[in-house]
Symmetry: C2
Subunit: 350 residues, 2 copies
């Protein structure tokens, strides 16, 4: 099996990314859904002031993007790229994103809570992501009066986030387990440990592209380190299962697997129209085929990148004009075919 470049982080061929999110609120303001425009502005100003303090270490790192200064397509692109939540995208008036491209850290202001600190890293690195987010949380907590209750912990707009305010998750690509019909067992097992398994593209998209997100459900009455340790344990078990399933396919159903991967390549290269769901599935096949050396022309970064670029708002943004669904399917097919042509040229001898 191919060596995964450190660029993708540990287990980068299976774990796309690790993410940590910390919810915080300022005690002197009501929660965002009841907040006046004036107070919303005040909260935003206070937060940015703290980040820009001379000895913060965060000076000039964050770029501010106010939702009301973006258009609908831009906001959807942010959602598809997992930079913001759908909830922030729909809070057009008050929502704001502070983003540091370098560290992978960002702050959503006036999502469900006043502050949502996020850190997203490639591969299985929830600890590193937590350290980054936690440092940011510590600095802000020193200078801002966070809503906190001795018994409960941090207070949040929705009680399911109260306590640690911490949500950790890993986004996994599990094509072999899916092919063998095993994700149900995974979902049950995760549930028993207080974790939940979801698709990554929101409600109703199922497990598009065989991408699964595992995240903790419980934020109250558990230590942060414990949540992160549990996520790491569960994810490592799932990785092991996926690797076993891949080896099993390679040993017992090699020709069938090659056939599937190569057909997917053929269709992706030649199709003139392709929907999101099918494209995600076929690219997933290429990623699997690539990790098992069935094909060697495409880099993981090309294929992971493709999965993002073919999302509807990304295509819309790229084309610059409003597209019908058929036009979008056509643009998607063009983009994929061009990317594979290019990928193929660049990586023939990889």
């Amino acid at each position: 099996m191919r060596q995964i470049n450190s660029e993708f982080g540990p287990h980068g061929d299976i774990v796309i990314s690790s993410r940590v999110r910390i919810a915080r609120n300022l005690e002197s303001f009501v929660f965002p859904h009841l907040l006046s425009d004036k107070d919303a502005q005040a909260v935003s100003t206070q937060i940015k002031k703290v980040l820009e303090k001379e000895n913060s270490g965060y000076q000039n790192r964050f770029q501010s993007i106010r939702m009301k200064e973006t258009d609908e397509v831009d906001r959807q692109v942010f959602v598809e790229d997992h930079r913001i939540s759908p909830a922030l995208a729909s809070n057009v008036d008050k929502g704001e994103l502070l983003i540091d491209e370098q560290s992978g850290c960002s702050l959503m202001i006036h999502e469900e809570d006043h502050i949502r600190i996020q850190c997203l890293l490639k591969g299985l690195r929830p600890k590193n992501a937590f350290e980054e987010a936690n440092a940011l949380d510590d600095w802000m907590g020193k200078h801002l009066p966070f809503a906190y209750d001795k018994r409960i912990g941090f207070l949040t707009a929705c009680p399911t986030n109260a306590g640690t305010g911490l949500r950790v998750s890993a986004m996994l690509h599990l094509p072999a387990l899916t092919m063998m019909g095993h994700p149900d067992g995974l979902i049950r097992a995760a549930g028993q440990l207080g974790f939940v398994v979801r698709g990554v593209f929101g409600e109703g998209t199922a497990y598009l592209g065989n991408l699964y997100q595992i995240s903790n459900q419980i934020t109250l009455g558990v230590k942060e380190q414990e949540i992160i340790g549990n996520l790491e344990d569960i994810t490592e078990q799932v990785i092991l299962k996926e690797r076993n399933a891949r080896n099993h396919l390679l040993e017992d159903r090699k020709v069938e697997l090659e056939d599937r991967v190569l057909r997917s390549l053929g269709v992706l290269k030649y199709a003139r129209l392709i929907g999101r769901k099918e494209a995600m599935q076929l690219i997933s096949d290429l990623i699997l085929g690539s990790s098992l050396d069935i094909i060697s022309d495409y880099s993981l970064s090309c294929l992971h990148g493709l999965m993002e670029q073919i999302q509807p708002a990304n295509l819309q943004k790229k084309s610059g004009i409003k597209l019908t669904e058929t036009e979008r399917d056509q643009k998607r097919a063009e983009l994929i075919s061009a990317a594979l042509e290019q990928g193929g040229n660049n990586h023939v001898y990889e």
Copy 2:
């Protein structure tokens, strides 16, 4: 639309072939299913003697292939290539094929009847095929006492062939009509004129590769010229419908059609395993795409040839060893991919 090379005969992009079959029996012998080995041999000897007469014009033209001197795979290849009927292939002891590669004429000896004269020509040429077969019939009738009844006409083992003993058929490729769900109407209309529509690869194969065979059902009480004229009329109507359907697809569903043809090309090039039914459908798409200039790399003869070469016995024969179904699907995929590679190189600037 591309000009069809005369090699393929009139309407060669839609009509694969025209075929005429004339059933005859020698009056002094019982029908084949009751014939002794000795008499069967006598019939065969008489027939060949007549063909080899000095002034016959058929001298040294026919090659004799006795079923008992072939193996099972050879016989199945003959059936797949439409050189013999399944009935001749199963009459291993007595069955014999006399074949003239040049004219497209052949004689099956001891199929259901003592003699089945056949002529198969490319394109829509039932008249020419009939002339060839009829000339052969005339010569043989002059020198052999055919079983004949003044009231009925020629007598045959099965009464459904009595009278003219003539069956004419055209093998048509109708992808556009099939795609638009119209063949039902065609089947009904043909039935009303005493013709029947079937698939070409025998029972249970449906219309594999969108290939349809139209043939007369009635042989008694109609003139030969009438049967042939009717087949020509019906076939020309069907050709017109197929052309209209193709134009309709090209005008109204162009991108969808391009998508379908190119996906089929992608799968055929890249698949590692492919079954007969799927392969026939995808090659049918390429033939359609080729006739509508959606693709231009492959000749009609390459694609029609592929449809024959991928049949099970053809693959079996080519590989030389007994294949499992999976191995056959693998060989089929290899053969197609190699043929398309080659076709693509040869015809890039066509």
